[in-house]
């Protein structure tokens, strides 16, 4: 069974601080996605990483895919209150042979003003 474990589960920081969220698995994924979910809404796709070692930047957010394609990290620089939300990683199940994703359990981020 493919699993994606995220850490930490909860994170409360002050505005302006930096943070890193991790997504780990014992399985290899051909691609991995990061979503952000705000209260009362559905998840929204932030980025997809597909190549081992790939780094993508989205303004203050930096996403990295592990060399072995088993893990990923999300680093936020100078967090803002608007970054508050649930961050979910998701990998394509069964090596992309199906159109199904496996989701991690999420990291709930609260950025205090």
């Amino acid at each position: 069974t493919q699993l994606l474990e995220q850490s930490p589960q909860f994170l409360s920081i002050q505005e302006g601080e930096n943070l890193t969220v991790y997504c780990n698995s014992s399985s290899v994924f051909s691609s991995l996605q990061w979503y952000r979910q705000e209260p009362g809404e559905g998840p929204v796709l932030l980025v997809t990483v597909v190549t081992g070692g790939e780094v993508k930047k989205l303004k203050r957010l930096t996403f990295q895919f592990g060399d072995a394609r088993k893990d990923s990290s999300l680093h936020i620089t100078a967090a803002q209150t608007g970054d508050t939300g649930l961050y979910l990683c998701a990998g394509d199940a069964y090596g992309g042979a199906t159109n199904k994703l496996i989701f991690g359990t999420g990291t709930l981020l609260a950025v205090q003003p």
């Binding site: 998840p43 998701a90 159109n99 359990t105």
Partner: protein
């Protein structure tokens, strides 16, 4: 934003009653999914559809059935609701041909409470 709506947005029902949730898309995407979201479990796939009348089970399909008679609509039915089915339900869509990585777009969710 992808055109996905879910109805109802909130529902309270009693144990043993049937419940149907509707997902409607205006994107003409081939794939549609139903997930449930519970604290500590993230998003778990209930059922998905890869075309009209083509559906398959996800990891938590017991007690749920689905139907897709048109490209734009995907219905999730709880035949006899139980308290363990209290959850937030999300519909998602994906278009495989233009989308190599199964990037999914989500609806706003339905909060279901079974008393």
């Amino acid at each position: 934003d992808a055109g996905i709506t879910q109805s109802p947005r909130h529902k309270v029902t009693e144990t043993g009653t049937p419940v149907t949730l509707r997902c409607h898309q205006t994107e003409n995407h081939r794939y549609m999914y139903w997930y449930r979201q519970d604290p500590g479990h993230g998003l778990r796939l209930i059922h998905y559809s890869y075309g009209v009348k083509d559906t398959d089970k996800g990891e938590v399909s017991d007690g749920y059935s689905v139907s897709r008679s048109k490209t734009e609509d995907f219905l999730l039915t709880l035949e006899s609701a139980t308290s363990s089915q209290t959850s937030v339900y999300f519909c998602a869509i994906s278009e495989s041909m233009a989308n190599l990585y199964n990037e999914q777009f989500f609806g706003p969710g339905t909060r279901l409470t079974v008393l």
